[in-house]
Amino acid sequence: MSGIYVVIEERDGRASRISWEAVAAGQKLATLAGQTVNAIVLGAQTEAIAAEVAAKAFAKVVRIEHPLLAAYTADGFTLALQQFIESDKPDYVVFPHTYQVRDYAPKLAARLGQVLIGDVTGFGDGPVFTRQLMQGRLNGSYRPTGNGPCFVSVQAGAFRADETQPGAAAISTFTPTIEPAQIRTKPSERFRGAAQTVDLGSAQLIVGVGRGIKDAANIPIAQDLATALGAELGASRPICDNGWLPMERQIGSSGQTISPKLYIAVGISGAIQHLVGIKGSQCVVAINKDADAPIFEAADYGIVGDLMEVVPALTEAVKAAQ
């Protein structure tokens, strides 16, 4: 057994922000578990990113390098990490909880007879790992009981990237054996969706609509509030999935990230995918009929009530104050 490894994800040639959050989690876990913490970078060319990562407090940084890792594939990344883990036998492997990690880490864990304890928001003695259940309405504490490495991914925003400790790590290289035929999927270049004509990212006032609006016919209730405020109208994912508002108005991890002065969430329960998108808001107001909705946890002000009554009243109050 040889400590904790944090798998760094690359974005535009550098370690992504959430990777540093995973590093902060790994360093905390190292203190708790009395272990050393190391980093893994994967790809076809990892020299630059390894050098960037080695400036933090790791015992070592491992470059897992192979030409077939140039583009991400679940098959390639799983094979490469499997071979390294079997040779080095870590106690813990910590990932940032990204779409890419969700695509391969459960496969890697299953291949080694383990599960990924995913989307972790914290941990305590044991260690026991906390993750959200029931769309953020409950927390669950998970204890790993397998006899192999423990795989954990950490939720965006749960640990602070600026809490990583600086250092000077030794760098080594691991070359996995991968045959082209073992990579069964062929990914194409990434592309953007339809041209964005709504820039919620720079809007100062935003009203967001969620499932609580119940019907497309009720959207004007929220639109009236937005108009009275001079705000943009945004939405949580289900509203756009239903086609009630265009996809370009979606706020959250798969849509736009916002940082307005004021965000008013109308009938939005506050699933984590939405909450990560509104984190930069200066002031958050939640209007929801469920007093236990997770959105209230993220809100500065709240009104518990039927949005069909509260929102028109608020629109009138805004107009009266102008």
Partner: protein, 256 residues
């Protein structure tokens, strides 16, 4: 194309959730249940592929007896038949244990394509489809919004973060986890509901599948999230609360 759709019955979205007395799961008595949302999109994708290319759609689910209405709903929407893994202890199995059950029931069917929803609305682990692929030795792709059949297999549209997408080619048989929003969901027709009553539902006791159920992760405790932020809840009727909120936003938060 023979398509198997793995679906899950989960507590209804608006259900009042209470923690059970042991503090290990939620109180299930009196709860209303529904088909997991992204699984509904997986079923829709399967039905549309069948309409375009022919074949068969089989739904597969694991759970106790109460999953019956959810199975009937899927059959009423157009699935041809169903396999129900009768399993009273689904919640106490880990993601690997559940995927092992599904894989064991699914393997003899030799499907061309296996679809699941991206994640369940209760546990939200988002792992079942990916682990299934590994156990079945099949290629997979996750977070899929659109599936096209090609001469050599499939081209799928995968969602990435922050508004990016990617097309991926993969051979069949394969496993895909479906993201919500790629299609418009259909409702069951009266005719569909009637037909569903005569469609085959094969029940397989979990014990018959004889899978390894050693736990590698245990859900030890369920708790309410600790409030970290102090939210000011504005009391009164809607008019009073709205007026108080505008005051606060103007003079306290100074954002209006």
């Amino acid at each position: 194309m023979k398509i198997i759709v793995a679906i899950k019955q989960v507590p209804e979205r608006d259900a009042q959730i209470r923690i059970d007395t042991a503090g290990k799961w939620i109180e299930e008595s009196g709860l209303q249940y529904a088909l997991n949302e992204s699984d509904a999109y997986a079923l829709e994708e399967a039905l549309q592929l069948k309409e375009k290319h022919g074949g068969e759609v089989v739904v597969l689910t694991a759970g106790p007896e109460r999953v019956g209405p959810t199975i009937r709903e899927a059959l009423a929407k157009g699935a041809d038949r169903a396999i129900h893994i009768d399993c009273a202890d689904l919640g106490s199995r880990d993601a690997l244990g559940v995927a092992r059950l599904l894989a064991a029931a699914l393997k003899p069917e030799a499907p061309d394509l296996v679809l699941t929803g991206l994640q369940s609305d209760d546990l939200g682990q988002g792992q079942t489809g990916v682990i299934l692929a590994e156990l079945l030795g099949l290629p997979h792709s996750s977070l899929i919004l659109h599936v096209d059949k090609t001469d050599s297999g499939l081209t799928v549209k995968r969602e990435l973060e922050e508004g990016w997408f990617q097309n991926i080619d993969l051979p069949t048989p394969a496993v895909l986890t479906i993201q919500s929003g790629g299609n418009k969901l259909r409702y069951a027709t009266l005719m569909g509901i009637k037909r569903a009553k005569t469609k085959e539902v094969r029940t397989v006791p979990a014990s018959e599948l004889a899978v390894d159920s050693t736990l590698v992760a245990v859900l030890e405790r369920v708790s309410l999230p600790q409030k970290q932020k102090s939210t000011q809840i504005l009391p009164g009727n809607p008019k009073e609360a709205a007026a108080a909120l505008v005051e606060k936003l103007k003079f306290e938060a100074r954002v209006l």
